[in-house]
Each structure stands twice: as structure tokens, then as C-alpha cells.
């Protein structure tokens, strides 16, 4: 009896194997990002957004008759680890396309492997302006690096637009950290201010983990700054907000999207209220697509508040864009997928925006101008729309 059962099991397994061999092989897509450590709220939200999109795509029958299979790797926000992960995904896991990457440094260190292997990569979160320009024609015949996030020069343009056009500030101070992120962002801000004919009254620098921002803030104050533009990350931004409260000097803080991160909002507390920043997506259901996305995310991951809403939305859209490109390409050849991405025929209704021919051979950014973005404001520990007009127009 026992033997009989064994035989039966073996038989069943054999049949199962035969069946799965007949079905099309899954399409393997690499996902990398920081799933542990300080950048993990962004990395995990992004990954969960990608997973959500892929579950939906697979439930609807997959792409080209195959299911999409995600191969996920943690890059720990470290440049060298990112480079390892990219090589592993390409050479060992044989992915046909890749999504992800949160940190600009990791993107710059790892994307050349995708470029060399002719595997299309959509950067979901990293914002460094250089990221998509690295391999663009005419320096290279074609680039395999695309992006859905809003790059730093577009963010800077919107930050300056908010400060100078909408709120009419004339005297502006820039506070940026000494990392690549902060200093490249500072250059973008300077360039955007120059276009408006404004020279900042103070430009101050600080290091990661600096515990006292008094000299920087006093210089801005002494120069008569009416607003502070920031390019830095959460903890130091919180030190700036707390330092202003200490000096009893409160001017508006406007800066890059990192002002929407939990480690700024939590550590600055009430001192961070009113800070404003560019956002591709704010967790409010102002379009049917956004409503569906927010509800699906909340249901799938049993949370009320998405840890990093922008990262989740951008990850979700990146996965749909890649799936659309593979479908249009008709196969999983990297060159064909890139060509499809550069000439997407059907408009795609995404969470961040509706993608209508987002990319071309020369343009690998999905966010082309500041009109796609909204200004977010920290209020009661959450990011909300600063302007009702932004709420009405974005996400469409």
C-alpha cells in the first residue's frame, strides 16, 4: 500500500513537471533597492509597489502568455553592493529587464552593467540628473537606462518656482549637505535661481551627522533670507528645522522630495510643519487610478499610510511600463524591449501620470516638466497637497 502511494506521488510529480514544461517559461525581471537600512522605507515601498503591479499583471494573464517572475535583491544602499547585485541579476539570474534603484550613487555604480548587457532598466526612485544622461546618444549609440522619478533639475525648477513665483521670495538661502546628492542638488538650485535672475544671499554647507546647525542658520538669518531651500536627507533636514526653532527664527523651508520622508517628519516634529517639497504622488485619491492604487496597496500590505508613497507609486508605474514594452516588443530581447520603450504606442494610465509616449531615443525621463509634479506640504505629520489646484491637475 505504502509503495503504491509512493508510485502515485512520483507519477503525479512527473505529470506536473511535464505540464509546467509545456507552459511558457516565466519572464524574469530583476528588482534591486535598499530593503534594509536607512533608505529602506523608500526601497521597501518601491518593491511593494512593483510586486502589486506584477500581481495584477499576472492575474490578468501575464505578458506574452507568460507570468512575470520578480528576482529581488537588496543593494543595502551601497554602491559596491549595487554593482554586485546588477552583475548577479544579469549573469546568474538571467533577467530580461530590471526595475528599481533608490540611491543615485548605486545607480551610477551599477547601471553600466545593464547598459553593456543590453538589458533595459527603469530607475524607479533615484533622482540624480546624471542617471539617465550617462549613456544617452550621441555619446553612445543607444541608452538602456530609463526613469520614472522626477530628476533633480526638474525638482529644483519646481522648488525655485514655488519660492520665487508663487510665494514671491526675493532673498533666498541654500542649505545643502556635503554629499554628492546635496552638492549636485545645490548646483541645480543655483542654475534654476539664475534663470529667474536671483543670486542666493547665502549658500551654506554641512556634513552628515553634524549636530549643530547654528552657524549656517545664523549666516542665512544675517543675510536676511526670506526662505531656505534645502538639498539634504531626513536627519540633517530635521536638525535644520529644530535649529531654526531654537534660534526663534522661522522662515519657510522648501526643498527636494526628501522633506517628505518619515525621518524628517518624525525627527522635526512640530518644527517641520509647513515644509514644502515637489511630489510625483501624494497619498490622496484625486484620480480613479490613484484611488484604486491606494486601496490595493492598503489591502495587500495591511497599512493605512504608505511608508514612502512616491516610491511605491513610481515602482508600480515602472513595472507597468516595462510590461507594456515587453508586450509591444513581442519577445524578451533587450534591444527590442528598449525600442518598444522608446516608442510606446499605447498610452498607459499610471498612478503618477498618464504615460503618452513617455520616452524617445533622446529622452529617457518620464517626468518632462514641472507640471507633472505637485507641491506637498507637511501638515500634522503627513504630506498633503499645498495647493488645491495641484490636486485637481496632477495624476492625469
Amino acid at each position: 500500500m505504502f509503495n503504491l502511494k509512493m508510485h502515485f506521488t512520483t507519477l503525479a510529480m512527473a505529470v506536473g513537471l511535464a505540464c509546467s514544461a509545456h507552459a511558457a517559461d516565466p519572464i524574469r525581471i530583476g528588482v534591486s533597492g535598499p530593503f534594509t537600512g536607512g533608505s529602506s522605507p523608500m526601497g521597501v515601498s518601491m518593491r511593494d509597489g512593483i510586486r502589486l503591479a506584477v500581481q495584477e499583471i499576472n492575474a490578468a494573464g501575464g505578458v506574452l502568455g507568460s507570468q512575470i517572475q520578480l528576482v529581488e535583491r537588496d543593494d543595502e544602499a551601497k554602491n559596491e553592493r549595487g554593482a554586485q547585485v546588477a552583475q548577479e541579476l544579469i549573469n546568474k539570474e538571467k533577467v530580461v529587464a530590471a526595475l528599481g534603484i533608490v540611491n543615485t550613487g548605486v545607480a551610477l555604480a551599477s547601471q553600466r552593467f545593464y547598459q553593456e548587457a543590453k538589458i533595459p532598466m527603469i530607475t524607479a526612485v533615484a533622482t540624480g540628473t546624471q542617471v539617465t544622461r550617462q549613456f544617452l546618444p550621441p555619446r553612445y549609440p543607444e541608452s538602456y537606462i530609463f526613469r520614472v522619478a522626477a530628476n533633480d533639475s526638474i525638482q529644483s525648477a519646481l522648488i525655485v518656482d514655488e519660492a520665487v513665483e508663487r510665494r514671491k521670495f526675493k532673498k533666498i538661502a541654500i542649505l545643502a549637505d556635503s554629499t554628492n546628492y546635496g552638492q549636485l542638488g545645490r548646483e541645480d538650485l543655483e542654475a534654476a535661481l539664475k534663470q529667474k535672475g536671483i543670486k542666493p544671499v547665502a549658500e551654506e554647507k554641512f556634513n552628515i551627522k553634524d549636530v549643530d546647525m547654528t552657524p549656517q542658520l545664523l549666516k542665512a538669518k544675517a543675510a536676511g533670507a526670506e526662505a531656505i531651500l534645502t538639498y539634504a536627507i531626513g536627519p540633517e533636514l530635521a536638525q535644520i528645522a529644530n535649529g531654526m526653532a531654537k534660534l526663534g527664527w522661522k522662515v519657510p523651508m522648501i526643498g527636494s522630495w526628501t522633506l517628505s520622508m518619515g525621518n524628517f517628519i518624525d525627527n522635526a516634529g512640530k518644527n517641520g510643519e509647513g515644509a514644502r517639497m515637489p511630489q510625483t504622488f501624494i497619498q490622496e485619491p484625486n484620480t480613479p487610478k490613484r484611488k484604486a492604487f491606494i486601496e490595493a496597496y492598503q489591502k495587500a500590505y495591511k497599512v493605512k499610510q504608505i511608508p514612502s508613497p512616491m516610491s511605491a507609486a513610481q515602482g508600480y508605474d515602472a513595472a507597468y511600463l516595462m510590461a507594456a514594452a515587453i508586450k509591444q516588443a513581442g519577445n524578451t530581447n533587450g534591444v527590442k524591449i528598449r525600442e518598444a520603450l522608446e516608442n510606446l504606442r499605447e498610452p498607459l494610465v499610471g498612478v503618477v501620470q498618464t504615460y503618452n509616449k513617455p520616452y524617445s531615443k533622446q529622452v529617457h525621463e518620464a517626468v518632462h516638466d514641472i507640471g507633472t509634479l505637485a507641491i506637498g506640504e507637511v501638515k500634522d505629520g503627513q504630506v498633503i497637497y499645498a495647493y488645491a489646484s495641484d490636486k485637481a491637475k496632477t495624476g492625469r
Binding site: 536607512g38 551627522k209 531626513g234 536627519p235
Partner: protein, 290 residues
């Protein structure tokens, strides 16, 4: 005028933060000629344990003894594992050993508390006080008073109690003290316990001003080391003065020259001290009078 005063106040508060950490270096160097390069990590561990305890019991002041105890245990561990074997072998192995223990502790802390910076609830009001037109946070005053009180308590202990005399004797001449029947091994262990307890205490003292996280000690530990060199590794008063010099140099350079160069003058001073007075501004040179 009030700008000047504001910079002065901020410089002093920052300087005292450096001084209280540097004080820990001075304690162990005096007795054993060795340093705990994991001092910054002891500070972070102290702050993180303090944060967990504050979350449980809700009272900042009651966490102080817990944190002191945790720091002391950490110090004993460092001495037993990293320093004693090297002292026995008369090698310089303690340098790498204390760095290694620091890295291990940092990794453990990252796994327990995560890598994100956390907010430490302030035990006093976060609204600034206005003194002569400059703003000072109540917590900054507590840091200054707490640092001075800690250093005073340790100095009094060293001068007045019999155990303190054993420490002073060991600091003056370890071998002679040993011949006089003082258990110098125990004295060194004790000085490490005291040193790390001081660092852990510094951790909860400054945590409400800075943010709390496993990596909070790295930059501070290095600055404090510079302070200890400038002030002199053998002098308690030296680290206070050294701390004030570095703190004021940073804030004044930041305001009057450029925030991009604020760390430079302090470090130039460090090089000058090393070149012209290697024992530090207040340190005793090699010949010791007892």
C-alpha cells in the same frame, strides 16, 4: 552683538559635548596608556539603551543609572577582551581590538535598533530660553552642567577616595603601584568601566539635542579624540579647554569664514599641537613628578 553671543553659546554647548566624550579617553589613558577607540560606539549604545528604557518607564532621569551600568559593563567587556591580552603581551594590539569591538557593537546596535536615526524625547521644554538676546535650549544648559558635574565627580573620586588614590598611583607608575600591593589590573578594568559609563552618560545627555542612532558616535568620537589630543590625554581640565577650543573654532569659522571650512581650524590646531606640544596643551610631558 547678539549674533556674537549666539555663536559663543552654540560653540560652548558644542564644545562641552566634545569634552564629555573626550573625558572618557583621558580616563583610560591615564591608568593604562591605552584608549578605547570604540568610545563613539559606547556613546551610541548608551543613547540607544536610554531611548529604549525611556520608552518603557517614561522618565529620563531614572534611565541614567541603567545607562551608567550598561556603559560600565560594556567597558569591562572591552577591557577584558581587547585591552588586557594586549597589555599582557606588551603589544599595541589594543588599537585594532578596541576598533573591532566598536564595529561589532555598532553592527549589533544596527540589528537591534535599526539604522535609522530616532528622536530622543527631551526631558525638558524644547522652547528656547533667551539670555542677553541669544537663544539657548534648556537641554544645552543641562549638557554643560551634566558634563561638568560628571567630570567633577570623577575628579573628586580620584582625589579623595582610597580607590581614586589607587587609580592615581597606577596612572603615575603602574609597576611601582603594583609593587605596593595595588591590583593594577583591577584598576585598569575599573577605569574602562568608568570611561565607557561616562561615554554612555554623554550619549543620553546629548541625544535629545542630536538624533539617536547606531552611527551617531562615529563622527563625534573622532572629534572628541582630536579634543583629547589638543587638551592633553593626561589632563581632565585639558579636555574641557580642548573641547571649548574645538567647539568655538567650528562655530566661529562657520559663521565668519565659511561653513564649508568649519572643521579646518580645529584640525590645523590639532596638527600644530602634535608638532609642538605632543602631550597636549595641558598634558604633562613624559617626566612625571609624584
Amino acid at each position: 552683538m547678539d549674533m556674537l553671543l549666539q555663536i559663543l553659546f552654540s560653540g560652548i554647548a558644542l564644545g562641552m559635548i566634545y569634552a564629555v566624550i573626550a573625558f572618557g579617553y583621558q580616563l583610560t589613558f591615564a591608568t593604562s596608556g591605552t584608549l578605547n577607540f570604540g568610545q563613539g560606539e559606547a556613546l551610541a549604545i548608551g543613547a540607544l539603551i536610554g531611548l529604549s528604557v525611556v520608552d518603557r518607564i517614561g522618565n529620563y532621569w531614572l534611565t541614567i543609572p541603567v545607562v551608567l551600568l550598561a556603559g560600565a559593563i560594556y567597558g569591562i567587556g572591552v577591557e577584558r577582551l581587547g585591552v588586557r591580552p594586549a597589555l599582557k603581551a606588551k603589544s599595541e594590539g589594543w588599537i585594532m581590538a578596541t576598533i573591532a569591538l566598536g564595529i561589532i557593537m555598532k553592527n549589533i546596535a544596527e540589528n537591534i535598533w535599526g539604522r535609522d536615526d530616532l528622536k530622543f524625547p527631551s526631558p525638558v521644554s524644547e522652547a528656547p530660553l533667551h539670555l542677553f538676546g541669544a537663544s539657548v535650549l534648556p537641554m544645552e544648559i543641562i549638557v554643560i552642567v551634566g558634563a561638568l558635574a560628571l567630570m567633577l565627580a570623577v575628579e573628586l573620586f580620584n582625589r579623595k577616595s582610597i580607590y581614586g588614590k589607587a587609580i592615581a598611583a597606577t596612572a603615575a607608575d603602574r609597576e611601582a603601584a603594583g609593587l605596593m600591593g595595588i591590583n593594577t589590573g583591577q584598576v585598569i578594568t575599573f577605569s574602562y568601566a568608568l570611561s565607557c559609563a561616562a561615554a554612555a552618560f554623554a550619549g543620553i545627555l546629548i541625544a535629545p539635542l542630536t538624533l539617536t542612532g547606531a552611527s551617531m558616535g562615529a563622527a563625534l568620537g573622532l572629534k572628541a579624540f582630536a579634543v583629547a589630543i589638543i587638551g592633553g590625554l593626561t589632563s581632565g581640565l585639558g579636555v574641557i579647554i580642548g573641547g571649548l577650543i574645538l567647539g568655538l573654532a567650528e562655530t566661529f569659522t562657520g559663521f565668519y569664514l565659511s561653513t564649508g571650512y568649519k572643521d579646518v581650524p580645529g584640525l590645523v590646531l590639532l596638527l600644530l599641537v602634535l608638532a609642538f606640544k605632543p602631550a597636549g596643551l595641558f598634558g604633562k610631558t613624559a617626566i612625571k613628578k609624584v
